[in-house]
Structures are given as structure tokens and as C-alpha cells.
């Protein structure tokens, strides 16, 4: 067996070192990354993937800690991928989600991995999705993805999940933020955490009202659950709702979503590969620089230039008509 085959063999057996090393290879797009993913792919699809998002300070990490604990009590194994933002100034990141979950570190049935967004447009969603695949293939029954729902890329990350839980807390000015970030549209379950505070009932009422206004009514009407994560209250109810959603998906909706998501992923990969090979070719032949100069001096524009460059390379394919 090659080194990568050995590693994947370890992943399938649930070996934690193999899982960790494989996630590193894939996250950094090292040479063996694609091979690793191809070997893993047939073994994915078994885990229930839960996305947990919401504004900073809403208590997501604490809630995940409690959820994981309850899942373990119910006999499930759990993977957690916690995503935090990369500093735009230094490229580094402070990954502190584990602080709230550290008791779970020594539980053999739980694997926690922290990831930084790394500011590559679209890149974080792919890296996170691939890390989830590794955990899925390793046999984890549930994989939880956590990300702050602050920007577009975090919303993209959430689309990896089958059940999306949006966590809000009273008094954070949540509802407005949630609308802006597109979270109201993608949430399958809404949680009002820190339910021991004031304004909790108002928060619940506000969310219910907003959900009622949503014209896109699927058969699943997102429930609103109150929790006090730090005290472990509401966790069982939340998990029951998550389970209900999973059953709802398995009754039919999941196949449609899976097909859409798989198609979207395939298209993304195709785009990436085509772009990479075309641009590499252009750079190698020194054509890219020349064309950029022409665009800068307004002799041509990016669209005409792209058409011209692609015409020579994509002879077999019909050019897209919308350009």
C-alpha cells in the first residue's frame, strides 16, 4: 500500500492520527489530496451533518459541547469542525472554539478539528466540506460544523449541512443580523440560547413572526427551541428536533438536496480545473501579462479578452452564449 492508501485505511478504521493527518493534507491541497478524497468518497454519506451558526456570543460552542455530550449518551459518535475567521492583516487565526468543548477531547467517540477560513474566496467552504467528508468516512454518526454566520462564506459553509441550526441570543440585535446574513432563509431549526435572560420571549416571538412572513414554505416549518446551553437545558429538546428534521429529510427531501448539492460540487470542481489549466497555460506562454496590459490601457476589456483567449483553447466546446 502507498502511504496515502495506508492513511485512508486508518481513517476508515477510525484511527485518530490518520484522520488528523488526512485533514491536513486535504486542507492544504497537498499533492495526495485528490487521491485521498477519491479513496474516501465511496465511504461518505453515512453521517448526519449538522450546521451550527449564529452571531458571535450566541453560545454556539457551549451548545455544541452539550449536544455532543447528549449524542454520546444516545450512543452516537461525533465529529466537530469548528471554523474561525483568519485575520485579514496577518493571515493567522485564533482558533478558540475548543475552549468550550475541551472535556470532550479525551472521549474516544468525539473528534474535534479547528479550521481557519484562510480568506480564499470559496476556499473555506471546500476545505470544510472535505474535512467533514473525512470525519464522515471515519464512521462518525454525526458531524457538526460550526461557523459564525457573519458573511457570505460562512453561509456557504452552512450549505454543507443537512440540518442547519441557527443560534441566537436575546439582546444581541440578532434578528436584523440574521436577515442580513441570509440565515433566516437557510435555518432549519432556530435556537434562542441564554434563555435565562430577559427578552427571551420577545426574541422567540420575533423569530416566529419572521418565519411566518417567509413566502417559501416547504413542508418543514422551522421550530424555535429555547436553551440555556451553559446549564445544559433545552439540549434534549433540540436534539429531538434535529432528529425530527433528519426523519423529514429521509422521507424524501434529502434525495433532492443531495442531487442538487452533488451537481453543484461537480460543477465547482470542473470550473476550478478548467480555470487552473487555462490560466497556467497563459502564464507559461507569457500571454497573460500582455493581455492584462491591453486591458489596463483600455485597448480591450476583460470579457472580450477572455473570449479571445478561450476561443483558441476551447475549440471543441461551444462558447457560452451569455457572454
Amino acid at each position: 500500500m502507498t502511504k496515502i492508501e495506508e492513511l485512508i485505511d486508518g481513517v476508515l478504521k477510525g484511527d485518530r492520527r490518520s484522520i488528523a493527518k488526512t485533514i491536513t493534507i486535504i486542507e492544504n491541497n497537498l499533492p495526495e489530496a485528490q487521491k485521498a478524497l477519491s479513496l474516501l468518497y465511496p465511504h461518505t454519506g453515512g453521517a448526519h451533518i449538522i450546521g451550527v451558526t449564529g452571531p458571535t456570543g450566541s453560545g454556539k460552542s457551549t451548545l455544541i459541547h452539550k449536544l455532543a455530550g447528549e449524542l454520546r449518551r444516545r450512543g452516537k459518535t461525533v465529529g466537530v469542525v469548528a471554523v474561525d475567521p483568519t485575520s485579514p492583516f496577518s493571515g493567522g487565526a485564533f482558533l478558540g472554539d475548543r475552549v468550550r468543548m475541551q472535556e470532550l477531547s479525551t472521549d474516544e467517540g468525539v473528534f474535534i478539528r479547528s479550521m481557519a477560513t484562510r480568506n480564499t474566496p470559496g476556499g473555506v467552504a471546500k476545505a470544510t466540506k472535505d474535512a467533514v467528508k473525512v470525519l464522515d468516512a471515519s464512521g462518525k454518526g454525526v458531524v457538526i460544523v460550526e461557523a459564525v454566520g457573519a458573511g457570505q462564506s460562512e453561509v456557504e459553509i452552512m450549505k454543507i449541512a443537512q440540518t442547519i441550526v441557527v443560534v441566537l441570543a436575546p439582546g444581541l440585535g440578532d434578528d436584523i443580523q440574521a436577515i442580513k446574513a441570509g440565515l433566516m432563509e437557510i435555518g432549519d431549526i432556530f435556537v434562542v440560547n441564554k434563555a435565562d435572560r430577559e427578552n427571551v420571549n420577545k426574541a422567540v416571538v420575533d423569530i416566529e413572526a419572521m418565519l411566518d412572513m417567509n413566502p417559501d414554505k416547504e413542508k418543514w416549518r422551522p421550530p424555535v427551541v429555547m436553551t440555556t446551553a451553559i446549564a445544559g437545558e433545552g439540549t434534549t429538546e433540540l436534539l429531538d428536533k434535529i432528529d425530527e428534521h433528519r426523519k423529514y429529510l429521509e422521507a424524501g427531501a434529502i434525495e433532492i438536496r443531495r442531487r442538487e448539492r452533488t451537481e453543484a460540487e461537480l460543477v465547482e470542481v470542473i470550473k476550478e480545473k478548467v480555470a487552473e489549466s487555462v490560466v497556467e497555460d497563459l502564464k507559461r506562454k507569457g500571454e497573460l501579462e500582455e493581455v492584462v496590459r491591453k486591458i489596463l490601457s483600455r485597448e480591450t476589456d476583460p470579457y472580450s479578452a477572455a473570449d479571445m483567449l478561450l476561443a483558441k483553447r476551447l475549440k471543441v466546446l461551444k462558447r457560452p452564449s451569455h457572454v
Binding site: G91, F94, R98, S105, S114, R118
Partner: protein, 135 residues
Amino acid sequence: MSSQKRIRILVAKPGLDSHDRGAKVIARAFRDAGMEVIYTGLRQTPEQVAETALQEDVDVIALSILSGAHLALFPRIMELLKQKGLDDVLVFAGGIIPKEDVPRLKEIGIAEVFGPGTRTETLVKFVQENVLKGK
């Protein structure tokens, strides 16, 4: 689309310390130096430190300790790291560690021990110069 590989460093406070300002300061310094810092907070057991290092596939571990329990805790941590196959991780320590204990710590594999007041630039430089990038 390739991501640039970043140095991943675990900042851990083993034992019963309750002062984490120093650890947070250096954690931020490493972040500002472009590293991905996994910060696990207070009261880590050796088992938690080693297991975190494994799951997060870190390149470096920075152990911060002020309680004087380093001789009790560090050998256990190093032993666990070895058991888990993490021998190639760069481990260094900081905090309140008497000079006479340093040789013993270096014997068990702690690469360097830094005292209070060490400039963060020194720590960053140490990591950058000593980390094994192509593990």
C-alpha cells in the same frame, strides 16, 4: 485552489493555573505572526493536551505554566506525545520555571524554556526557526 500551509500551534495551560493573560498574549502574537493558534484555555490535563495536539495535527506546542507543577506534568505530556506518534512536534515552555529545572526538561524533549518577560518577537522567531515544516 491551494491554501497556503500555515504553522499550527497549540497554546496550552496544563494543571491548576488560573492566570491566562500571558498565554493569551502570546497566542495573539503568534496569530499576528501569521500562525493558526489553537487555544484550549485553562486547566488542561496532560491527556487533553496530547489528544488536542493529535486531533489538530499541530506543528508546535507552547506549554504555559505558573503553578510550579511542571516537573510533575511535563514528563507525562511528553510521554503521551510519544505514545501518540507526535515525536516530531516542537514543544517549548514558558512561565514560572526555575532555571535549575531547565536541564531536566530539555532531557525529556522540551526544546526551550522561556522566562516571564520574554519578548513575543523572540518566541515567534524561535518557532519560525525551529519548526519542522515538511513533516
